[in-house]
Symmetry: C2
Subunit: 238 residues, 2 copies
């Protein structure tokens, strides 16, 4: 793909990809840590996880500065320019994934004072594991410039939506059964919604890989199964 | 600020700003329409509002293509490059504001079958009006390249957070009082959360204006008052 022979320039571009890989690794860790703190009701761990998001924010800023310097110094065209702009977009999605994970950790601090039912925690675990797998695969697809693998991630996001919709219904049922669950369930509801949105950012990254390699966005509408914003408000009526 | 004398180039850059202004106008409209559909329990209007988000998505794509073409053709440096990259970032935030407004409209379709209490709707109206004012001001600040005005918006986002925290407590109280309200209140809770996040994207735009004009991000941490992720789960314990 490279149409230049300046090796320092190649090193610049590889530096961007290394920073993306580093950000991606931190994103996997912060999401896993946030869920772990939630599951173990471990407030100190949750607090440390909240603090760790600053690393991801700092990497995003460094990456954007690197990108701007490369554009200014190398005046890239065509493929290289597309590469650099893709890196900027992907870093924005990773930064949001870090933010959403941080927010899960904040909610874990509150939930640590409660006794969330095992089936709800297990539902959130399924969502987290699936989202982590998707994130891992999309980072692999970026590093291998593999648009087919990226498209598998893109299509499979529907499964996170299905897990979310099912958990949403279960959470509402718990609230109906005992109003004392409402506060805790609201925290878990937002936590689950954050994971669903992490899935959306992961598909954004997949789309950008497709664009980077093929020069176009993926065809058609992505399959979506988060129906919770269209669910009739009362579970017993659905 | 311009250090070039190529007038076709100036026209290119002005074209980017016109597209930003156009996207911004659509964002103000879709948010106002989504709330109006919610308040009037007008499902057809809500459905039309959901559909209207495609215009904003299309404008974002057009703007990004314009930006890539300008970088490739003009090989901008320094201020112009910063201008173009800022435009790409702002368009990403506007696209998200469109998405979040679309999601409010989807929830308005569900809520149209319910009788939400006036005080809740009025709470959401206050949030919407404040968010619309902030969005309007930040678009003005961009068009005038006015970092002071942008910083007023940045600092004032705290007021949306306070409105959200207060509404969050009220929504939880309604759910406690009568479990039949849980489904509807959950929809309104996510609707309110969307407006709070629209505020966050508006402050991102303000930060980018500061960066564009001053070359640095604003100093210090932005004041934040969304405490709902740290609220004890049971309202009666807070």
């Amino acid at each position: 793909m490279a149409r230049h022979i300046v090796s320092a320039y190649d090193a610049d571009l590889e530096g961007l990809d290394r920073t993306i890989a580093e950000m991606g690794g931190h994103c996997e860790k912060i999401l896993a840590d946030a869920f772990s703190a939630l599951e173990r009701r471990d407030a100190p761990r949750a607090t440390a996880t909240v603090a760790s998001d600053t690393t991801i924010d700092a990497l995003e800023r460094r990456l954007q500065e690197q990108a701007v310097q490369i554009i200014a110094r190398r005046q890239p065209i065509a493929d290289d320019l597309r590469h650099i702009l893709t890196v900027i977009k992907i870093s924005g999605d990773l930064e949001r994934i870090g933010d959403l994970s941080k927010n899960i950790a904040k909610r874990a601090i509150v939930v640590s004072q409660e006794q969330p039912p095992k089936s709800l925690v297990s539902g959130i675990r399924h969502m987290t594991e699936y989202a982590l797998g998707q994130l891992h695969d999309v980072l692999d697809a970026y590093s291998a410039r593999d648009p087919e693998k990226a498209m598998v991630v893109w299509r499979d996001d529907e499964k996170i939506d299905l897990l979310y919709t099912s958990l949403f219904r279960e959470l509402l049922t718990y609230m109906f059964e005992d109003p004392r669950n409402i506060g805790m369930c609201t925290q878990l509801l937002f936590g689950a919604k954050n994971i669903e949105r992490i899935g959306d950012h992961t598909t954004n990254i997949a789309e950008n890989i497709h664009y980077l390699v093929r020069g176009t966005m993926p065809d058609g509408e992505r399959p979506k199964s988060d129906e919770t914003s269209a669910l009739a408000s009362k579970p017993d009526e659905t």
